[in-house]
């Protein structure tokens, strides 16, 4: 064990020694410098090991051999060891990163850096409150000087503002300390806490506490007293910003954590309120921010707010404080490593505005690291932030603090908005110039190291949280990691590997599931396998494509096997993020992917809120099955959780993301999104219904609402589909509409209704997968998505034409193909349920579907060909093959619906009394009957007869080209111009005009604009004037006084 006293000794000693040793040259100085930092790191790592592996007793060191209050004491326990390890690793890595900068600025920079590190270490270790003040000052002075070291106007200005704020904070701190000392007679923190000095109501002591915490709140950069911090983050060298944002902020936070027991009840609340307000407002203001370092500054400040809020809540709600240690640690270390990493990357890229970050695209390693850190900040699994946020929100729910839940979740969403916009620009922005970032190995090394630490920590925290079924929940991540090893090999090998791991995963899940879960995981995994096969049609695939695909499919499959809420939510998030990262690969999908991510995250956060409400009724509930005990809160919980699912199925109101995302994603990916991903939402809705039934909101049954939502989605999406010029967009709207039918089926909460939903789930997978793949083949050959730019392709691509024809027949529900089964079940169920009006609307929608079906096939395959497409070849076999597998399934289930319907009926039987009976192959409902087999035979028979008849009658028929026979003696000069495809349904559009106003889009646009406007109004308070910032600090004092004096 290393004695903690050696840390200040070594730091100070070296700080004095270095100027003396300067004559031996820069190398010697650097070696000594790094040796010192290395010593710190080694010492703290040893402590970390001792406390966590060997359970050593807490180390306490007393100066001059006295006990407190006469001496100063340092303490290193498990918490301190963690902090010290993080801080010293950061210092070492940060110094390494900053090496050229330090070399340029000279010897004093290294001395300052050592002092800075010492200050942070001291802040963590000391148990003496005045000593704390001293270390705080050491840290601050060192950082002022480090900031101003490069003598640029910006950094000097920022440093000056920082110093004014810092001086004010230190005056308050000292004032508080001396008053507390007078009251308690000790400077030792433990002594003060033990004496219960702050429990006293005397104004003097309360005033002392006020000063103390005011000062630390300022140091924690709370709104509105944080303008100076933003300037510092923006102006300082990113390497220094990393040290301040992660290191010194972290150390100060720990200091606050140490003395927080001194605070009273009203301070807990004040911390929670200020913290969450800061979190929300910083993220809100950041929406308008385009400057990368300042953007990160807002994010840092916001994260500090989050930490303070978590601390406040932890004390405020009094229960389960151990749990809060976990939460604080998770949130803290998550921010710590991710933010440092991001600042370092900002320093490497050297692009000020987020629009210029598209330069990052040329450097996959940096791009990967950026994405990783951003995901960590957003609290994506498996990063520590995810576990922390989950635990925090659950705790808040248990303790009935829903205003906190609302603020924190809203803030998180805002944070996602600007971070993902930035990432989107890096990934898919327009490239401006050719100056590429040229990272040094050193820089990449430290950044990569932090990424690794982030991941490891996340895994560690996750291991602590995921108590049951650990392997099932993390399986998707492992599979993705395995596939990552295959990057760089040929597409065939990668697909092969993906297939193998997915199959393996399927076998792993097989014994775990039965009934509905089995059915859905069959679609997710089986469908995934088929779609993976289809990806082969493109000879080249960008890096990360297959790991993400496998991650998406397997996390969806895990959703069906999840027993716990956490496991479900984790995999829901995994699915969301992996699909986001897949969508953004499309050439123009930046905005679409951004919208998708925002809506999905918004939904996921609502789900989180829903689970937290459940905690109120059933504290400690971990299982999904606990949803059954929601009782009077059922309506709220159902509404909140269903948001996530409604976003995924793109129900009306939450559908804004879908047309763009489907259209702009890569062509085969769109097939997966529509055919498979949307079913995850359906699975969620079914799960909710299984556990919660149909809860009431006041006296309104929520399944009626859901039913209408599904109906209107089906109607409006279909209506929009017919006016699209872009084939994929048309199919996208069609998907939204079709999934609307499934939602209706689920909402009916009856045997037939669910059968309809389940049947249509599979069927929609079959025909929509088929259609999207076929269209992908067409786009592959023609290079356009606009239908009016094609025509007459039936002659060039007959196999694709056949696919599309089968697809639209199945889609439109025309007998005898499978689509009709869904329609039949749906209408029987609707009429049985008494939802007559809904049935009418659904019927209207399904007739409208004919319009777009016809438009799709006519514009592309029929009519007059375009001259430049006369030599187009048939789509590649590799994409036709999966289509014909789908077609085979369609025919099998068309001929023998019983093969599917009977098992489905058995799956639904545990939940509802069956109302579907069988007479041989005839399905008999309470209203009607249907024999798909006879129907199929009948149609084939008649068709064959008529066909033979015509064959005989048209023996001498001659094949001609279009316009060989002409109408009204006119033969157009350029026949391709007569292809009737553009604005195909204009008269219909005219007729339907009143229904076509994009009200919902306008609504969401308004929400977005008003939020951003709110941000830009609020940010006016940061007017850049150091004096105004001082005033804002006094304003914070007044606010805090109002918050704390009331009680």
């Amino acid at each position: 064990m290393v004695n903690p006293i050696f840390i200040p000794v070594a730091a100070l000693g070296m700080a004095f020694l270095l100027p003396v040793l300067e004559r031996f040259g820069r190398k010697t100085v650097n070696v000594l410098f790094f040796l010192t930092l290395g010593f710190f790191t080694a010492a703290s790592l040893i402590w970390l090991n001792d406390f966590f592996m060997a359970n050593s007793p807490v180390l306490r060191v007393f100066t001059a051999g006295f006990k407190p209050p006469l001496s100063i004491n340092l303490q290193v326990g498990s918490q301190e060891a963690m902090l010290l390890a993080a801080i010293n690793v950061l210092s070492l890595a940060g110094a390494f990163y900053l090496l050229p900068h330090l070399n340029v600025t000279g010897l004093k920079a290294r001395v300052l850096f050592l002092l800075f590190t010492l200050g942070m270490n001291g802040l963590v270790m000391t148990r003496d409150i005045f000593n704390l003040f001293v270390f705080l000052e050491i840290t601050s002075i060192a950082s002022y000087a480090l900031i101003g070291m490069d003598v640029r106007l910006k950094s000097l200005t920022a440093g000056f503002k920082y110093m004014i704020a810092g001086s004010l904070a230190s005056i308050f701190l000292l004032f508080g300390i001396i008053l507390l000392y007078q009251a308690s007679g000790t400077l030792n923190i433990d002594g003060m806490i033990a004496s219960g000095v702050t429990l006293n109501d005397s104004p003097l002591i309360q005033g002392a506490a006020f000063m103390l915490f005011l000062s630390l709140f300022i140091e924690m950069k709370q709104f509105p007293a944080n303008g100076w911090a933003l300037d510092v983050y923006q102006a300082a060298h990113p390497g220094i910003s990393a040290m301040i944002s992660a290191g010194s902020s972290g150390a100060i936070f720990f200091a606050l954590y140490k003395i927080f027991p001194l605070a009273g009840e009203n301070w807990y609340l004040a911390a929670a309120i200020t913290g969450s307000t800061t979190f929300v407002i910083s993220n809100l203001i950041a929406l308008r921010q385009r400057q990368v370092t300042r953007l990160l500054g807002y994010s840092s400040v916001g994260q500090m707010g989050l930490l303070l809020a978590a601390l406040g809540f932890g004390f405020y709600v009094n229960r389960g404080r151990d749990n809060y240690a976990f939460i604080l640690a998770a949130l803290f270390f998550n921010h710590f490593f991710a933010k440092a990493g991001l600042y370092w990357i900002a320093g490497i890229v050297k692009k000020e505005r987020i629009e210029e970050w598209s330069a990052l695209r040329r450097n996959p390693v940096l791009l990967f690291l950026t994405g990783l850190f951003i995901l960590a900040l957003l609290g994506a699994p498996p990063f520590a932030g995810f576990w922390g946020k989950w635990a925090l929100i659950m705790n808040l729910g248990r303790e009935d603090t829903f205003w906190g839940v609302a603020l924190l979740l809203f803030g998180s969403l805002l944070e996602a908005a600007f971070l993902l916009r930035w990432f989107g620009l890096a990934m898919r922005g327009a490239t401006h110039d050719d100056i590429q970032p040229s990272p040094a190995v050193r820089e990449i090394f430290v950044t990569g190291l932090f990424a690794l630490i982030s991941l490891t920590l996340g895994a560690r925290f996750g291991y602590m949280r995921l108590t049951a079924d650990l392997w099932t929940y993390v399986f998707p991540l492992i599979l993705a990691a395995i596939l990552f090893l295959f990057e760089g090999f040929s597409v065939y090998l990668r697909v092969m590997a993906s297939l193998v791991v997915m199959l393996f995963f399927g076998f792993y899940l097989y014994p775990l599931e039965q009934g509905l879960a089995f059915y859905f995981s069959l679609i997710f995994i089986g469908g995934g396998l088929l779609m993976l096969l289809a990806t082969l049609y493109q000879p080249r695939r960008s890096a990360g494509y297959y790991p993400l695909l496998v991650l998406m499919f397997s996390s969806m499959a895990v959703l069906t096997a999840s027993k716990t809420q956490l496991g479900f939510f984790m995999n829901w998030e995994l699915m969301t993020f992996s699909s986001y990262l897949l969508i953004i690969r499309g050439k123009k999908s930046r905005k679409a992917a951004w919208l998708y991510a925002l809506f999905s995250l918004g939904g996921a956060l609502a789900m989180l809120a829903g689970f937290s409400v459940l905690q109120l009724i059933r504290p400690g509930a971990e299982l999904l099955a606990d949803l059954a005990y929601a009782g009077e809160y059922g309506g709220v919980i159902f509404t909140l959780i269903s948001m996530a699912f409604l976003v995924k199925v793109a129900a009306l109101g939450w559908h804004i993301w879908a047309p763009d995302a489907y259209a702009e994603a890569e062509d085969d990916l769109t097939a997966m999104l529509s055919a498979i991903l949307s079913k995850a939402g359906i699975w969620g809705l079914l799960l909710l219904a299984v556990f919660m039934g149909a809860p009431l909101w006041h006296s309104l049954s929520l399944n009626t609402v859901l039913g209408w939502l599904g109906t209107l989605t089906a109607f409006f999406a279909t209506l929009y589909a017919i006016f699209q010029e872009d084939a994929k967009r048309l199919l996208a709207w069609s998907s939204i509409g079709q999934v609307g039918y499934i939602v209706m089926g689920v909402a009916m909460m009856s045997h037939l209704g669910w059968l309809a939903a389940l049947w249509h789930t599979l069927n929609h997978f079959l025909f929509k997968g088929l259609l999207f793949l076929a269209i992908a083949g067409v786009i592959h050959r023609t290079g356009t998505r606009n239908m009016y730019e094609m025509g007459g392709l039936i002659k060039r691509m007959p196999f694709t034409f056949f696919s599309v024809m089968i697809g639209i027949i199945a889609l439109s529900g025309v007998p005898p193909l499978t689509g009709f089964g869904g329609k039949w079940l749906l209408y029987e169920a609707l009429i049985e349920k008494g939802w007559y009006l809904q049935a009418g609307v659904a019927f209207f929608a399904s007739t409208i579907a004919f319009l777009y079906c016809y438009r799709l096939i006519h514009a592309i395959f029929l009519g007059i060909p375009k001259p430049d497409q006369l030599q187009v070849r048939e789509a590649p076999f590799r994409i036709l093959f999966p289509q014909y597998i789908l077609i085979a399934f369609i025919f099998v289930f068309s001929l023998k619906p019983a093969w599917l319907l009977k098992p489905l009926s058995a799956m639904v039987a545990p939940y509802f009394t069956p109302t579907l009976g069988w007479q041989g192959d005839t399905a008999v409902s309470s209203l009607g009957y249907w024999n798909g087999t006879v129907m199929m035979i009948l149609v084939v028979f008649i068709f064959a007869l008529v066909l033979l008849n015509l064959l005989w009658m048209s023996r001498g028929s001659k094949k001609v080209k279009p316009f060989n026979i002409v109408y009204a003696a006119e033969k157009p000069d350029r026949p391709q111009t007569t292809h009737y495809a553009w604005h195909f349904f204009t008269p219909y559009q005219r007729a339907m005009r009143p229904l076509l106003k994009p009200l919902i889009r306008h609504f969401w646009q308004g929400v977005g604009e008003w939020t951003a406007t709110g941000g830009s109004v609020l940010r006016r308070i940061y007017n850049g004037n150091g004096q105004s910032y001082a005033m804002l600090i006094l304003l914070l004092a007044i606010i805090l006084f109002a918050l704390t004096a009331g009680a």
Binding site: F130, V134, E137, S140, I141, Y144, A145, G148, V151, L153, K154, L156, T157, A158, G159, F160, M163, I164, G166, S167, L168, S170, I171, L174, F175, I177, I178, L179, Y181, Q182, L187, L230, D231, Q234, A235, I285, R288, Q289, R294, S1016, R1019, R1020, Y1022, N1023, G1024, N1025, G1026, Q1027, A1030, M1031, L1034
Partner: protein
Amino acid sequence: MKLVMVLGAALMLIGFWGLITRRNMIKMILSLAIAETGLQLIMIAVGYINGGTAPILDSAVDKLSAVQQVVDPVPQALVLTAIVIGVAVNALMLTFIIRLYQKKHSLNISDYKDMKW
């Protein structure tokens, strides 16, 4: 001692007032220094015992009753430290001002608003 305390508090308020009203950066720093001085006065006043003596154990103090007789030494030690730190910070701030003046030839804080929002 009440008087010293009130005086200290008054100085602090004057300092704060100066900080938020003076636009000249040097005056702002002086205001901060005034506030710090006020605080230091308060600190000393806190530890003072009426009629007490200096906290040095010599013949003037009875060793057994020293605690009642001598002034509390801790605040004095703290004040010393605080003064040192205050001086350091003020000096650093003045350096910054010199550098800033070299860049922009202005001492007015409102002239340094390049970064905002």
